[in-house]
């Protein structure tokens, strides 16, 4: 039969052709699916991929990790930085108090945070959000962070909000990989190299204190703060969470946090809550302090008060 001959001489049946198309599409889809791995491999070294959790690193491993990150920072940002792994001091638990009666809402704390903690310049990121609220209310839902014009306005007060370093932190509870935990001095720390970027902690935090690095932070070499801490202000990789650490790289060396030093009115009080002679203890013992969203049981280490 001539028709049958034609079919066999063409060599490709309908079924075979469909199989070929299917296989091609499948291969293309697979290639596309694993494409991110090529960019990932570009950004992440094998050493970084195999790196252990912060709390399981031996001192020698830590030295290597720090040397590697310093070298990477030099390569990526052109900045010579020193990364320290300051440990919690015995007998120290940090607490912060903020006097809402004398905060003028100038946002200098937020700016100081931005500079100190090597935040992405493009997004103007900061761990501090200053809310403007009407006097006589404490309605954070209607507090505005995007206010402008001369401050303080006579009908408003200003409430800077940052990580409250909770003693019962919901962000730590929800982390599926234990990349965030409570340090002995009360700081809730993040291992940026262990974080998988799922953002559960961002959703769990009732204070909106956690930030996600959507992109690789961009900072000009001359603006990079070279004094860096492994758990605090070193430049974070893309795709991980970050948060206020009470400037761990400063406070664990005995210094004040950057936001406190920037405050022109002295609304911020910082110190060791275990030291009965400290300023923070005086505030807690003599002012009517309150914590944000006490009813949630998060037990913040950050206190607010009014003078009157």
């Amino acid at each position: 039969m001539p028709e049958d001959n034609t079919k066999t001489t063409s060599g490709i049946s309908r079924r075979t052709a469909l199989k070929g198309v299917g296989a091609t599409l499948g291969a293309a889809a697979f290639a596309k699916a694993i494409a991110p791995l090529t960019t990932w491999a570009k950004d992440q070294s094998v050493d970084e991929f195999l790196q252990n959790h912060y709390r399981e690193l031996t001192p020698d491993q830590m030295k290597e990790v720090i040397a590697r990150i310093e070298a990477e920072t030099k390569e990526d940002y052109g900045a010579d930085v020193t990364i320290k792994d300051s440990k919690a001091q015995a007998g120290v638990k940090f607490a912060y108090a903020l006097n809402l009666s004398i905060c003028v809402g100038c946002r200098k704390c937020a700016k100081a945070c931005h500079v100190e903690n090597n935040h992405d310049r493009a997004t103007s990121n900061s761990y501090i959000r200053v809310l403007e609220m009407k006097k006589g209310s404490l309605d954070m839902a209607h507090g505005r962070a995007d206010y402008s014009g001369p401050v303080p306005k006579s009908d408003s007060f200003y409430m800077p909000v940052q990580c409250q370093q909770c003693d019962a932190p919901p962000c730590v509870d929800v982390c599926p990989v234990e990349a965030t935990w409570k340090e002995k001095d009360g700081i809730v720390a993040v291992d940026y190299n262990w974080c998988i970027g799922c953002r559960y902690c961002e959703a769990a935090c009732p204070y909106h204190a956690r930030r996600f690095n959507w992109s690789k932070p961009e900072i000009p070499a001359e603006e990079v703060n070279p004094v860096q801490g492994y758990l605090s202000n070193r430049i974070r990789p893309q795709g991980v969470m970050e948060k206020c650490t009470f400037c761990m790289h400063r406070t664990r060396e005995g210094k004040m946090p950057a936001c406190l030093e920037a405050c022109p009115t002295g609304a911020r009080v910082f110190g060791n809550i275990l030291d009965p002679e400290s300023e923070i203890r005086w505030v807690l013992e003599n002012k009517r302090v309150f914590v944000l969203k006490e009813e949630l049981g998060t037990k913040p280490s950050f206190y607010y008060f009014f003078d009157e």
Binding site: S124, S148, V151, E277, N286
Partner: protein, 210 residues
């Protein structure tokens, strides 16, 4: 007779255990107190760096409208004029003449001589007439602003930089007059810096290419 020694043995063992427990509890309780008092003592002993107060005023001079030999505005000491003039107990800054014109005075119902010492214009005076130097202005302020003075002394008013831990480094604090103009002390309004921006995925990431 086996039983009595056995009972005695058990009784002795229990007694020794109870005694050991009592000693352990006693030691722990009191060693806690000891370490607590030791810790407090340590805090006081360790604080060997000081707190320096920055920007306290010094004995002032006043700018004249004349130029000196080098062409710079001439500054003269208060006593240059005030040793010969009769002090005016005025509350109105408009009444002031010579170099004090235009001084803005918005400080309660104070008169010039509430704080300035008419006996010696290079000093100030407390309400009871005790002269104080310009560098000790804080004593003067504290007479009326008790709560602020108390908060300042306890570290919860006024800007500072340096170390929270005075065993590891010093601290610098602002004097009252760094932030408050003595003649119009209300803290001025200022423009906020650093407006926030929404953190959204930037347009050039791989996710927005699709």
């Amino acid at each position: 007779m086996k039983k009595p020694p056995l009972i005695g043995f058990f009784a002795a063992a229990i007694a020794i255990t109870a005694l050991a427990a009592a000693i352990w509890i006693f030691q722990n309780t009191f060693s806690d107190f000891d370490s607590q008092s030791e810790r407090e003592a340590a805090f006081q002993a360790e604080a060997h760096y000081g707190v320096e107060i920055m920007g306290a005023p010094t004995t002032p001079t006043v700018l004249t409208d004349a130029l000196d030999y080098h062409g710079r505005p001439a500054e003269i000491a208060c006593a240059t004029c005030h040793t010969t003039r009769t002090p005016a107990a005025t509350r109105q800054s408009e009444d002031l003449d010579a170099f004090h014109q235009g001084l803005i005075m918005q400080h309660g119902d104070l008169s010039c001589l509430s704080c300035h010492n008419s006996e010696n214009y290079d000093t100030l005076k407390l309400a009871d007439g005790t002269p104080v130097g310009f560098e000790d202005t804080m004593l003067l302020c504290a007479q009326c602003h008790g709560p602020q003075s108390r908060d300042y002394r306890n570290g919860s008013h006024g800007g500072m930089v340096g170390y929270w831990d005075l065993s590891r480094g010093p601290r610098q604090r602002n004097a009252c007059t760094v932030c408050h103009d003595v003649h119009a002390p209300a803290y001025p309004q200022l423009m906020p810096v650093f407006p926030p921006r929404d953190i959204i995925p930037p347009k050039d990431t791989v996710h927005s290419e699709h």
